[in-house]
Amino acid sequence: MRKMIEGSRAVAEAVGLCRPDVISAYPITPQTHIVEELSQMVADGDVDAEYVRVESEHSAASVCLGAVAAGSRAYSATTSQGLMLMAEVLYNIAGMRLPLVITGVNRALSAPLSIWNDHQDTLALRDTGWLQLYAENSQEVLDMHIQAYKIAEDDRVLLPLMIGMDGYVLTHTYESVDVPTQEEVDAFLPRYDPLYKLDPEDPYTLGAFADPSLYQEMRYEIQRDALRSKEVVKEVARDFQAAFGRWMGDVVEPYMCDDAETIYIGLGTVVGTLKDWVDVRREQGDKVGALKLRCFRPFPNDELREALGNAKQVVVIEKAVSVGGYGIAAAEVRGALYGQPKTPPVVCAMTGLGGRDVTYEVLDEIQKRTEAGETDFFAGLRTELLEAS
């Protein structure tokens, strides 16, 4: 059914349709309407889940860890500082191979305190063993949650999945979305059938001590299965298209890339702006394209090589900075292209931090500076605020 709803509500409805057994969240800042809507849906009896309010995000993640370990489907959402507080538990969830799904609403990290959007929080957690998908619009983020459980719970994967959703730009914006029915989702996503769970009748130990003769092999298996999960991400995107008729890419989504000389890459909502801007530049005769990096973990190395191989130049619009290094996504894109027969130069344009809008003007500036030969720079800077160096 078509509905005009807030992005957070779209996620809450999608999660409800996935029939979670346990939802746990810290309800205070930094938080979004997602878990508020879900608590109402549980209280109204629309979602049959145990809703556990806790005193911190560390506890929310811990409750979800226990819930999935006991064989249930669980959910949480947080953002920014809350996600940082979860970090210690997130490594454990991946290490125990528990297919939890959380929404990592993308907001800037303190200090200075900011509640607005960038990608520093979830990208800082790229090494946890969690899979990471990033959504461009409300419909995609709704669909992605339904896909997420199917990917994470697949026997070939058994890894948790975090969905990056741009704070405010998506969470607080109303868009028209198609909300599937319960029957449709039930047909696509069966109930969670755990391979193992904490059960006194059939005991297992999770998260046990591993001495140096064992630890490395466990990490090897996580890495192997994370790399293999790319095929599952693609398969689930195809199955979703067959069931619901919608396609928004699998691990990447190229837009006007076939004959493009310069391809602009982004994660999340900035891709929507990029696509429109590409249309405008194309009218002016610029051979430009856009590429959505939909899946960041596992990183789509092969797919990027294929999509970018014929470009003369690649520009990464970067909403996260590895301070002292480069933009986080740009470093990965450079790594993917390194050593290829035709390696286009990769420009890293850092912008959109702490909720700064990435407008056509900013993209025009990036294009101009790229053509002038700059490679790593901040775009859209208010230089009048900066001390003269």
Binding site: G95, M96, R97, D155, R156, L158, L195, Y196, P203, Y204, T205, L206, G207, A208, F209, A210, L214, E217, M218, E221, I222, D225
Partner: protein, 95 residues
């Protein structure tokens, strides 16, 4: 789902221990330098020591009689600290 329709599933990933209780294989008694000594005159058989031992190595035999499994006791002294009747003292253990 019928047994025939059930698809073959993978083995649990490494790190998921399918034979629990294996920590008993690691005897940790040698880690400590102290051992609990009971004063049976003071002991009332209240079970505080048994329930507080983090390694579960104090066993209640009969009313005022406990046994300490020194293969696992690390000598942490929690039983002595918790005993309401000061019936347990920690003594240095010479091996």
């Amino acid at each position: 789902m019928t047994a025939t329709a059930k698809k073959k599933r993978r083995k649990p990933p490494l790190g998921i221990v399918t034979r629990p209780g294996s920590s008993l294989q690691n005897k940790t008694g040698a880690w400590g330098i102290l051992r609990p000594i009971f004063d049976w005159e003071k002991c009332t058989g209240c079970n505080t020591c048994e329930s507080i031992c983090p390694d579960g190595c104090i066993r209640h035999l009969e009313k005022k009689q406990y046994e300490v499994d020194m293969e696992y006791c690390k000598g942490c002294g929690m039983c002595a600290a918790a005993c309401p009747f000061d019936a347990i003292t920690m003594e240095e253990e010479h091996r």
